[in-house]
């Protein structure tokens, strides 16, 4: 859906809170193409999709989130909700919006930025000399042509050579995790295709894939980047990736660990960061 320049809500979901830089870069990209962005996410804006086993609680969460978006549309003129997370987007489209009165439209960030590609292109002034394999899933195509839109955006980056990777089932890697062997096979196929094609970057579209594939960063001298990192690089903007660096062994600084509470860091964060990637 195309929307004009204006006031929008950027709904980044809850698991994106692991990737602060990706949230900030997404906001920045939307602002650079002319939008006035209010970014929301986290548990207070839960879509409920992670609580399928608790339908009443999930339904309440969904209703609360829709009410907040309605409020923002009516009182603040933000009648478009821009999504990042395909789970949130599909849940809103298929369950939340049909089940609750809504006064806003939704569109995925890749669609919004693709619609503004002519405004974005002049900002891409730094050559990014990388051969990039795009890690793709097909499951979100029922709702947004995200693969095509991201390909369109990346193809605007000077110096970047793009190779389409194998297309995997599901909407992102988290959909493969419950199926024995599926996640390992997808990663193996992606990495093999990247190596065969002589790529030095595997580019993720979604945070779940980024979180999983970050464990393989550096293997065969191939690095992991997200599409917003690559666009930011082309704009000459710092595009660091703390989660990827932590996942491959670097530790967060002490002050950050203290802010997260040391005990919680050891109980909740370290096991995820040190978890080996499934080999099969």
């Amino acid at each position: 859906m195309a929307v004009g320049t204006g006031r929008v809500t950027f709904w980044f979901g809850c698991n994106m809170l692991r990737h602060a830089e990706m949230i900030r870069l997404s906001i920045l990209l939307l602002e650079r193409v002319g939008y006035d962005v209010s970014a929301v996410g986290g548990p207070a804006y839960c879509c409920g999709t992670a609580h399928d086993h608790q339908p009443r609680a999930a339904s309440n969460m969904a209703a609360r989130t829709v009410a907040r978006f309605n409020d923002s549309a009516q009182k603040d003129g933000r009648s478009v909700v821009i999504t990042w997370c395909p789970s949130c987007h599909m849940h809103m489209s298929d369950i939340m919006a049909p089940g609750n009165a809504t006064s806003f439209d939704i569109s995925h960030i890749s669609e919004i930025l693709a619609d503004c590609a002519d405004r974005l292109a002049p900002l891409l002034i730094v050559s990014v000399k990388r051969r990039v394999l795009l890690h793709r899933h097909v499951g979100f195509a029922t709702h947004a042509p995200v693969n095509d839109r991201v390909i369109g955006l990346l193809s605007r980056i000077p110096g970047l050579e793009l190779v389409e990777g194998p297309a995997h089932p599901g909407h992102m890697c988290s959909a493969l995790a419950p199926v024995p062997g599926a996640l390992a096979a997808a990663a193996r196929d992606t990495w093999t295709a990247a190596a065969v094609a002589g790529c030095d970057i595997v580019c993720t579209i979604f945070h779940s894939c980024h979180r999983e594939l970050a464990a393989l960063d550096g293997k065969d001298e191939i690095r992991i980047r997200n599409w917003v990192h690559l666009i930011a690089e082309a704009m000459g903007i710092d595009a660091s990736d703390a989660y990827r660096d932590w996942r491959t062994g670097r530790a967060p600084d002490i002050a950050a660990i203290e802010r997260a509470e040391e005990q919680r860091y050891h109980q909740l964060i370290e096991p995820e960061l040190r978890r080996p990637f499934p080999s099969r």
Binding site: G42, P43, D94, T142, Q267, L268, I269
Partner: protein, 80 residues
Amino acid sequence: MVDRVLSVVARLRAAGRTADRESARGGQPGLDAMLLVRIAKQRALNETRQLPVKQDPTYFPRIKAFARLQLTDEELAKWL
């Protein structure tokens, strides 16, 4: 639960949203397979109990811990 899900599907169908959008199968008309899988999963979780429920009480605490690790005070105030 099934009635509720079916009513949602009926509304989606009426709105033309189950069949007519670009799909992973090349834009052919048809039901949204992802949604059907979703409905089947919800039924298997909550009615037939064919799928075991995975309780993860650390789901939000883990997200919050990651957020505190990297967000600014202003961002934490807005998003947590």
